[in-house]
Amino acid sequence: MFMFRAQSGIHRIGNDTMAGSSRQQTHVLYAEHHGWLFGWLRGKIGNASDAADLAHDTFVRILASRHLPDNLGQEPRALLAHIAKGLVIDHWRRQDVQRVAMEALRHLPESFMPSPEERLVMVEALVRVDAMLASLPARTRQVFLLAQLEGLTLQQISEQAGMPVITVRRHIRKALLACMSTL
């Protein structure tokens, strides 16, 4: 499954394979509701440039789904707001991760001083790690991280967590599959 991110400068609207009538409807949808959606988003996140990104992402999301735009029902704004709300939550989470990562970077020992480019790569990777782990139940996440971050063997985790190795393995498999689907 894929994940949209608000990326300044990338406003991808339209789809080359889309039928002409759908394209027409998209334009109508966009013309009629974009202004409203942008205003709604700006009210939510208080930042015009992020709101513009998220408004575009919302339309891109609509285009990418199969419901497309001739099938939006009687209340297209309700659907737009529904999609946008999910993107706003992702946006906030992303900001949380970025802020926390920058703080943590400041606390690292001075011998470990990544370049600004390395920092960006790390922060991006941490956003993805956070998204991958987000759907996991606490226990599964904990077991997976013991293996992935602490480097413990399945046997060691089994001893520490007091669960059979086969259960440890099941947790890790579940976590890995969730991560693979979220990437």
Partner: protein, 328 residues
């Protein structure tokens, strides 16, 4: 996980069955030691189709993503997010877009200490006592793991595995930060105190209060105060009936197990926590009641002592596979 709406077509996502097979291979290569035959089998599987290759690529990307960040950084970021964000996000949703600054973070720069974070862990058989930044004492029993996070707003521990004993100190002058210990099942708040906390295998925690009191809040349950001299089990949903605390249950800090009319099976199970490998007790004698003191620092001597003083024999199949059997 990103929020999804409509039925997003998982474009480019390989078949679920292939993903599962890829995950199994990934576990074999990443967390287990595969033998050479398995590697040959894997290469064969991987070459079966482009879809197999793509499924494997997904697994590889998961590890590559983790690999882009130094592990201590990932650990710290996940830890901080875990504590901070869920609640704050809810607040922001409620506030309808108003930006609420986390108070602790904005104050932190002006406070006389820096945030203090560490991960403490002990190996099987190891015990360790450390001083926290406020001079509170934290003792970790065998095979235990605790994350420590002291900020300007709170003193917080997270018990990840095993067992700890805590003797709290009043906070630094001018501060009244709560002292909290999180477990997977709920949070224990110290009310000026010495107490023990242990994660059990049955999906519960056990709290023993040796001095003053604590407040226990199960993850999905109402808070409850536990007074000095009480001990209780709690799960994610409830706090069980308190019982008198076993005063000897904190003696592990001194490397001692003092058994008073204890089941032999329970004594052996306790000893097993301090040893690598497999140590069990024959069910035929597990119910026998025993009393005495044994050393947790030297479990081989402890086993010898059992053999000398009780009608049991210690069967050592290997040094990692030991069984306590009836004698004769």
């Amino acid at each position: 996980m990103p929020h999804r709406t409509l039925d997003d077509n998982p474009a480019g996502l390989p078949d679920q069955k292939l993903l599962e097979e890829a995950a199994d291979w990934a576990i074999a290569f990443q967390y287990e030691t595969p033998d050479p035959r398995r590697e040959a089998q894997f290469r064969e599987w991987h070459g079966l189709s482009a879809a197999h290759e793509q499924a494997w690529e997904r697994a590889r990307q998961v590890f590559a993503t983790f690999g882009q960040v130094p592990t201590p950084l990932t650990r710290e970021v996940l830890e901080r997010l875990n504590h901070a964000s869920a609640r704050r996000r809810t607040l922001r949703l409620l506030a309808g877009g108003a930006v609420l600054l986390p108070v602790g973070l904005s104050l932190a720069r002006h406070q006389p200490w820096r945030e203090w974070l560490s991960d403490e862990r002990t190996a099987v058989g190891e015990r360790r006592t450390i001083a926290l930044p406020d001079q509170s004492e934290l003792a970790l029993n065998t095979a235990s793991a605790v994350n420590v996070s002291f900020t300007s707003a709170q003193r917080r521990l997270q018990l990840v595995a095993g067992e700890i004993l805590i003797a709290t100190q009043p906070d630094l002058p001018g501060f009244k930060r709560p002292f909290l210990v999180e477990t997977p099942y709920g949070t224990v708040r110290a009310l000026g105190t010495r107490f023990g906390l242990r994660l059990l295998e049955d999906g519960s925690s056990r709290v023993s209060v040796f001095r003053h009191a604590v407040e226990i809040t199960p993850q999905h349950g109402a808070p409850r105060i536990l007074e000095e001299g009480q001990q209780v089990h709690f799960t994610t949903t409830e706090v069980m009936q308190p019982m008198p605390v076993d005063e000897n249950s904190g003696l592990w800090q001194q490397g001692m197990l003092l058994a008073q009319d204890m089941r032999l099976g329970d004594v052996v199970a306790e000893l097993a926590r301090y040893r690598r490998g497999f140590l069990n007790c024959d069910p035929a004698i597990a119910g026998q009641r025993v009393s005495g003191s044994i050393s947790l620092s030297d479990t081989d001597s402890a086993l010898d002592l059992l053999e000398r003083t009780l009608p049991v024999r210690i069967v050592r199949r290997t040094s990692y596979w030991i069984s306590v059997q009836p004698r004769g």
